[in-house]
C-alpha cells in the first residue's frame, strides 16, 4: 500500500450545531435554531448544493402531511396509525401533526406558491394533502437558510460521526470537489440526510437505471454513519414500496387524488371495489392498493391503469403542466409519444423497495425531542424512525423540534478533544480507494451486485417482494461477502483513472451495504407479516398482534460486524391527556 494520508489537506471547523444534510429537515432546523438564538454558530454539510439537493431537487406538486379543514392532529394520528397497521410511535407522529401547518405557513412566507380558491383556502388534494406549485421549493428553502448566515459547506460527503465513548463530537467528511478531508467538531449534531435508494435492483435498467421514484443520490449515508457509530435503529423492516406511473416512476397522487382517477385493470374493471371489497375497497391501506394491483397482474388481468380518460383535453394539458413541478420527464414522455392523459392513461406498477423514514418508518430510535440514543446526537426527517408519512412538512417539523432542544441545552454542552490516531484511520478509510490495488472492483460493479443480491434474496421486485428465512440467510451471507469485497473498491469509472466523484460512489456503496446488513436482520427477526408488500413473509403470512405489536430495534457493533436486535414496547399515547 503506497497510499499516504499525509497528502490529504485537512479542513478543521468548530461549531455549536452541526447539521448533516441540507434538505427539508436540516434547513428548517437551521432556520429555527437561528430564530431562537442569534448567537448560535451553525454549520451545514451538504453532499450536493443546497439549492438543488436530494428528494426536492426537481420540485414537488403537493405537500402530503397537512391538516385540512375538518381534520385535526388527532385524526392525522389515527390515519397514520391505521395505514401503518397500528405500529407507530404515536408520540412522534402526534408532535408532527400539531405543527405541519406551521411548516407550510413558513414555506409560503419564504415564497412557495400555494394556489388558493375564491375563499382564500388552500386546495385540498385528499384529506391530508394540499396542492403546491413547488418546482422552485428547494431554492426557496435554501434562501431562507442563507438568510440565517449559517455556514453552508456544499459538496461535502459525510463519512462518519466522531465518537468518544457514548458521545458524538461531530462528523468527518470529504470534499467531492476540493478533495479535502473535513473535521467538523460540534457541541450537538443533527443527522438530517435522505433515506436509502438503490439498495434493490430498480425497475429500469441500462441508461434508464436512474429513472426511479426516490432520489438516486440519497444513498443512506445518514443511516450508515449512525449504524457504524452504534446508534439504536428501529423498524428497518418496514420498507417503502410505492405504486408509481410505469417507466418514469412518477408519483400517482396528482392523478389518483388530484383528478380522482380510479384504478382499473385491463378489462376496465374498478378492481379495488369489484374484487377487493373485503379488504377495504378504495379505503384500503396504501400498501394494499399495490398488493391488489400485483394480484391483478398475477391473475392475468394486467396491465392496470389510473383511469384518466374522463379528463377533458384542457384538464389533461393542466395535468401535464402540473407534473413539471415534480417529474418533468413524465410531461416529456406524453409529448414524445404525442399522447395526453385523456387518451393515454398511465400504467401503474410497484417500485423497488426503499428504506426511508419519511414515508415508512426506518430510522434512528429517538425521543420526542428527536434525540438519538447516543449523547449530543439528533435525527430528523427521512432518517428519523417511528413516524411514517411525515414527508416534507413533517420533516421540517422534526428539524425544528430538534433545533429547539439543542438550543435549550447548548450552554451545558462542550467540545472535546479528538484522538489524532482516529483521524488518521478515518482519512485512510475514506481515501484509500483512490489507489488501485491488485484486485480492483469498480463502484458501479459492486452496486449492481448488491442490488441483484437484495432483489433475489431480500424481497425485491422479481420475487413479488416476498421474504422467507432461507432466502434471507443467503442474502445475509452474500452481503457479508460483498462487504468484504468492498475493500477492493477502486474510485474509477474506467478502471484506469481515479476521481473524487467515483470516490463518492465508492462510499455510497459502502454505506448501502451497511444499511442492507441491518435491514436483513430486521427482516429476518420479525416473524409475521405486518405490512404486506413492505414486509411480506412467505413463511409467516399472517399479522400476529399478540406477539409482534412491538418495535424491532438494532444496534450494530462496528468491530465484530454483529447486529444485536432489541425489542421495544409500542406505547399508545392517551389523546385526552396529550391535548
Amino acid at each position: 500500500m503506497s497510499f499516504s494520508t499525509d497528502k490529504i489537506k485537512i479542513e478543521r471547523i468548530k461549531t455549536d450545531f452541526l447539521i448533516i444534510g441540507a434538505g427539508a429537515a436540516g434547513c428548517f432546523a437551521a432556520y429555527e435554531a437561528r430564530r431562537l438564538n442569534p448567537n448560535i454558530d451553525i454549520v451545514i454539510l451538504e453532499k450536493a448544493h443546497i439549492d438543488r439537493s436530494g428528494c426536492l431537487a426537481a420540485g414537488i406538486n403537493a405537500i402530503n402531511a397537512y391538516i385540512n379543514a375538518g381534520q385535526s392532529p388527532e385524526s392525522f394520528l389515527e390515519y397514520v396509525k391505521k395505514d401503518s397497521m397500528d405500529l407507530i410511535r404515536e408520540d412522534l407522529v402526534y408532535s408532527i401533526a400539531k405543527e405541519v401547518n406551521h411548516a407550510v405557513d413558513l414555506l409560503e412566507e419564504w415564497g412557495l406558491p400555494i394556489p388558493k380558491d375564491e375563499n382564500g383556502e388552500r386546495y385540498a388534494r385528499g384529506r391530508g394533502s394540499i396542492i403546491v406549485q413547488g418546482e422552485r421549493i428547494k431554492p426557496i428553502i435554501a434562501q431562507a437558510v442563507k438568510s440565517t448566515k449559517a455556514k453552508i459547506l456544499n459538496r461535502v460527503v459525510v463519512t462518519n460521526l466522531i465518537k468518544k465513548g457514548n458521545k458524538i463530537l461531530g462528523a468527518y467528511g470529504f470534499g467531492v470537489r476540493d478533495g479535502k478531508f473535513y473535521i467538523v467538531e460540534a457541541k450537538a449534531t443533527l443527522v438530517a440526510t435522505g433515506g436509502a435508494g438503490g439498495i434493490y435492483k430498480p425497475n429500469n435498467e441500462g441508461n434508464a437505471r436512474h429513472k426511479i421514484w426516490y432520489s438516486p443520490f440519497n444513498t443512506g449515508a445518514g443511516y450508515a454513519i449512525g449504524i457504524r457509530a452504534g446508534a439504536e435503529m428501529t423498524t428497518f423492516e418496514m420498507r417503502y414500496v410505492s405504486m408509481r406511473i410505469k417507466d418514469l416512476m412518477a408519483p400517482t397522487g396528482a392523478v389518483a387524488q388530484g383528478v380522482n382517477a380510479q384504478q382499473v385493470n385491463a378489462l376496465g374493471e374498478r378492481y379495488l371495489e369489484e374484487r377487493y371489497g373485503a379488504i377495504g375497497g378504495r379505503q384500503m391501506p396504501t400498501s394494499a392498493r399495490l398488493l391488489a394491483t400485483l394480484q391483478e397482474n398475477a391473475e392475468g388481468r394486467g396491465p392496470c391503469y389510473l383511469d384518466t380518460t374522463h379528463l377533458t383535453k384542457e384538464q389533461a394539458e393542466r395535468l401535464k403542466a402540473y407534473y413539471l413541478h415534480m417529474t418533468p420527464g413524465l410531461t416529456l414522455y406524453w409529448s414524445v409519444k404525442s399522447t395526453s392523459p385523456n387518451n393515454d392513461p398511465p400504467e401503474i406498477v410497484g417500485t423497488e423497495p426503499y428504506i426511508v423514514g419519511g414515508h415508512a418508518q426506518a430510522g434512528y430510535w429517538i425521543d420526542v425531542n428527536r434525540k438519538a440514543t447516543l449523547e449530543n446526537l439528533y435525527a430528523a426527517g427521512d432518517v428519523a424512525g417511528g413516524a411514517p408519512k411525515k414527508y416534507v412538512s413533517g420533516s421540517g417539523v422534526e428539524g425544528m423540534i430538534a433545533a429547539r432542544d439543542i438550543n435549550s441545552k447548548l450552554s451545558s454542552l462542550n467540545h472535546e478533544e479528538i484522538n489524532d490516531h482516529e483521524i488518521k484511520e478515518e482519512i485512510h478509510r475514506v481515501f484509500n480507494h483512490i489507489e488501485k490495488q491488485n484486485i480492483s472492483i469498480l463502484p458501479d460493479e459492486l452496486e449492481l451486485r448488491m442490488q441483484k443480491t437484495m432483489d433475489d434474496y431480500a424481497g425485491g421486485i422479481s420475487s413479488g417482494y416476498i421474504l422467507n428465512e432461507q432466502k434471507l440467510s443467503k442474502a445475509r451471507k452474500y452481503i457479508k461477502q460483498l462487504k468484504e469485497d468492498s475493500k477492493y473498491l477502486y474510485a474509477s469509472k474506467d478502471g484506469v483513472t481515479p476521481s473524487l466523484h467515483e470516490l463518492m460512489k465508492c462510499h455510497e456503496v459502502i454505506d448501502r451495504l451497511d444499511v442492507a446488513t441491518v435491514l436483513i436482520e430486521h427482516l429476518s427477526y420479525r416473524k409475521e407479516t405486518r405490512w404486506p408488500i413492505y414486509q411480506s413473509r412467505g413463511d409467516f403470512p399472517n399479522r400476529d398482534d399478540k406477539n409482534w405489536l412491538k418495535f424491532v430495534n438494532s444496534v450494530y457493533d462496528n468491530k465484530s460486524g454483529e447486529v444485536k436486535i432489541v425489542e421495544r414496547e409500542c406505547k399508545p399515547i392517551s389523546l385526552l391527556t396529550a391535548k
Binding site: 426537481a58 436512474h210 418514469l248 409519444k337
Partner: protein
C-alpha cells in the same frame, strides 16, 4: 439517457474564473468542465431527470432526452427559470412543440434579509413570453 449539452451553445459561463450554474446545480455531481472550458455530463445513466441544470443554463444549451428503451424515439424538453416563473418547451419526434409555464416563487417575507445576488436559481434576462399561466388549482 438524461441530458444533452449542446457543445456549440455552451460558452462555459466564465469557467474557471467563476463556478458554472449547471455544474453547481446538479444534485448528482454529474456535470464537469472539460479542458476546452465547456460543460459535459460524466454519466448520463446516472441522471435523475430533475432538470435543475436545464432550467438554470443561461445559454439554454441543455435539454432533457428520455432513454431509448423507454420511449423509443427522439424528443426533448427545454426549460428556463425566471424570477417568478419557469417556461418549458417539449418537442416530439416530428418537431411539434408545446410550451408550458409554471409559477416559481412569490415575494418572500425574507426579501430584506437576502441579497438579490444570492438568488442563484434564476436566469435574469427574461423578456416575456406571451402564453399566459393557467391556474392549476382548479380542476386538479
Amino acid at each position: 439517457m438524461g441530458i444533452l449539452i449542446d457543445q456549440n451553445s455552451c460558452n462555459g459561463c466564465g469557467f474557471p474564473e467563476s463556478e458554472t450554474p449547471c455544474n453547481m446545480a446538479c444534485p448528482g455531481d454529474l456535470i464537469f468542465m472539460q479542458s476546452n472550458g465547456k460543460a459535459e455530463i460524466c454519466c448520463n445513466a446516472d441522471c435523475w431527470d430533475c432538470c435543475a441544470c436545464i432550467k438554470i443554463c443561461p445559454q439554454q444549451a441543455i435539454e432533457l432526452q428520455l432513454p431509448f428503451e423507454i420511449t423509443g424515439k427522439e424528443g426533448s424538453l427545454k426549460a428556463r427559470a425566471y424570477r417568478e416563473k419557469t417556461i418549458w418547451t417539449t418537442r416530439d419526434a416530428n418537431g411539434n412543440e408545446e410550451i408550458f409555464e409554471t409559477p416559481a416563487r412569490n415575494e418572500s417575507s425574507l426579501k430584506n434579509l437576502i441579497n438579490p445576488e444570492e438568488f442563484s436559481d434564476v436566469v435574469d434576462s427574461y423578456k416575456g413570453i406571451s402564453k399566459s399561466f393557467t391556474d392549476l388549482g382548479q380542476g386538479i
